[in-house]
């Protein structure tokens, strides 16, 4: 029997908008709306789109030792987050294996909010609870307190600002604002490579804000467009590009690890950084037709972890773990796509950049 899927507070709005709904890690989520994936992708690259990401989880850490506790479990240097700041980091196990990649927002002097991936939320929360020893900290699962909307695109900020009580926080900052009369935590972060904000608000407030954004011309966008957008800018996706079998160094996330803080797994990460890893996560573009997909083997070792047709670039793109010696920009790869060899070239991350030097 199929287990009951979880639904976000926006479920009815998605149905009314004609969304195609799919099972995404136990959540019934919109994969796309009526205009299609490419139209949604284009809306975010050129105008504004809004995603329901209420399936993502939140863990709050508060108390006198909140910073010390997060410094112990998160890979980045938590002491660098000012009040109102945001930081990307990894949650690693003792072997340096990736348990999740997450954003942490400092809401107050001793209060932090960490956003988890939906599929990992329960495990992340349990892991964090299990590693509080010696710290005067309260770790709470607050996922039920929040719906989360991601408004993304060059005009997203401007449109959200029209219904806000005051200017929105700058990039990589978070602040409380009143949005359409509703208490909202506005986080100037995202997963698309575009400017924009993520709005955390009470579940019963989410539909009104969503509908007002749509009324103002923001395109409802589903998880399929979220995937093509993030892959063009090479943001890793946990479950595809990241797993507990991989460490942050081979995943190219060493920049978000500060081993000097002594976080769980830091010894392994330090060694990996010093000695190198057998494989590395690279971005690639196919040189001819076709699309490489997750699980396609790379000839000579390694495999594709994410692959799609890039709506912006018009070619097959993706990310793959390949032997470190081949992980250099310009290297040619042969990928076995269901028995057909497709040629790809290792390319600089991000694969898509705005043409700003016109």
């Amino acid at each position: 029997m199929t287990p009951m899927l979880k639904r976000t507070p926006l479920f009815e709005a998605h149905v009314a908008a004609g969304a195609k709904l799919v099972d995404f890690t136990g959540w019934e989520m919109p994969i796309q709306y009526t205009h299609g994936i490419r139209a949604e992708h284009e809306a975010v690259r050129t105008r504004a789109g809004v995603f329901d990401v209420s399936h993502m989880g939140q863990v709050q850490s508060s108390g006198p030792d909140a910073e010390a506790f997060l410094q112990h479990v998160l890979s980045n240097d938590v002491a660098n987050i000012a009040v109102g700041g945001a930081q990307y980091s990894m949650l690693c196990n003792e072997a340096g294996g990736l348990l999740d990649d997450l954003f942490t927002y400092r809401l107050g002097a001793d209060r932090y909010l960490t956003v988890t991936n939906a599929a990992n939320h329960e495990n992340d929360y349990a892991w964090m609870r299990d590693h509080t020893a010696g710290c005067d900290v309260q770790v709470e699962d607050v996922a039920g307190d929040y719906a989360m909307l991601a408004a993304q695109g060059p005009f997203a900020r401007e449109i959200v600002e029209q219904i806000a009580d005051s200017p929105l926080p700058p990039r990589m900052q978070a602040a409380r604002r009143i949005i359409l009369g509703r208490e909202t935590l506005v986080c100037a972060t995202g997963y698309t490579g575009e400017d924009g904000v993520e709005l955390l608000l009470a579940p019963h407030d989410a539909t009104a804000v969503w509908e007002e954004l749509v009324r103002r011309g923001v395109a409802p966008c589903g998880l399929a467009a979220r995937d093509t957008l993030r892959l063009e800018v090479c943001y890793p996706l946990y479950g595809n590009d990241l797993s507990s079998d991989r460490n942050p160094i081979e995943a190219g996330l060493g920049w978000a690890c500060k081993e000097a803080t002594g976080f769980i797994g830091s010894d392994v990460v330090r060694r990996a950084r010093e000695e190198g890893t057998a494989q590395k996560l690279v971005a690639f573009k196919l040189t001819g037709p076709g699309i490489a997909r997750q699980g396609n083997p790379v000839v000579g070792g390694g495999e594709v972890t994410s692959g799609t047709m890039s709506p912006s670039l018009g070619v097959g793109i993706g990310m793959a773990y390949v032997p470190a010696a081949r992980a250099t920009v310009g290297e040619t790869l042969e990928i076995d796509v269901r028995g057909k060899m497709r040629t790809a070239v290792v390319s600089r991350k991000p694969l898509y950049t705005k043409e700003t030097d016109g």
């Binding site: 994969i31 994936i37 490419r38 399929a224 093509t228 037709p289 076709g290 699309i291 799609t308 709506p311």
Partner: protein, 130 residues
């Protein structure tokens, strides 16, 4: 095309493929996928055609179509030899969604056994199977 449609003059295979017999040349047919198939796939971004001159067998895979999210096999409704492929789809596969019975046609096939057409469904039978 946004609305479901299943033209009356086509023959249908259960794997959501159609065949159009050429009245002038009864042993040549055009193949494509149905409205139902393209709708289930979503936006098709890549069509991987067979070689002209290769043979296809009824019920077997002769090409692949990929949408943004997934790859799908295309099954031949009838047997024969590929005499033409729709090369325009190599540059832009969207006619498969926009016009699945017109510009979205995939191959033309010289049939090895035109009698196989008897086993295909007409429009009403196919629609009843959906």
């Amino acid at each position: 095309m946004a609305e479901a449609s299943y033209p009356d003059e086509l023959l249908y295979h259960a794997e959501h493929d159609w065949a159009r017999l050429d009245p002038a040349q009864p042993d040549v047919a055009t193949f494509g996928i149905t409205w139902f198939a393209q709708d289930a796939l979503g936006e098709v971004v890549f069509f991987d055609p067979p070689e002209v001159g290769s043979s296809v067998a009824a019920g077997e895979v002769y090409a692949e179509v990929e949408s943004v999210k997934a790859v799908s096999d295309v099954v031949a409704p009838l047997s024969g030899e590929i005499v033409e492929v729709n090369t325009a789809l190599a540059d832009a596969a969207d006619p498969i969604n926009e016009d699945p019975y017109g510009d979205g046609w995939m191959v033309r096939v010289k049939l090895s056994d035109p009698g196989e057409a008897e086993s295909l469904m007409d429009r009403d039978a196919y629609m009843a199977s959906l």
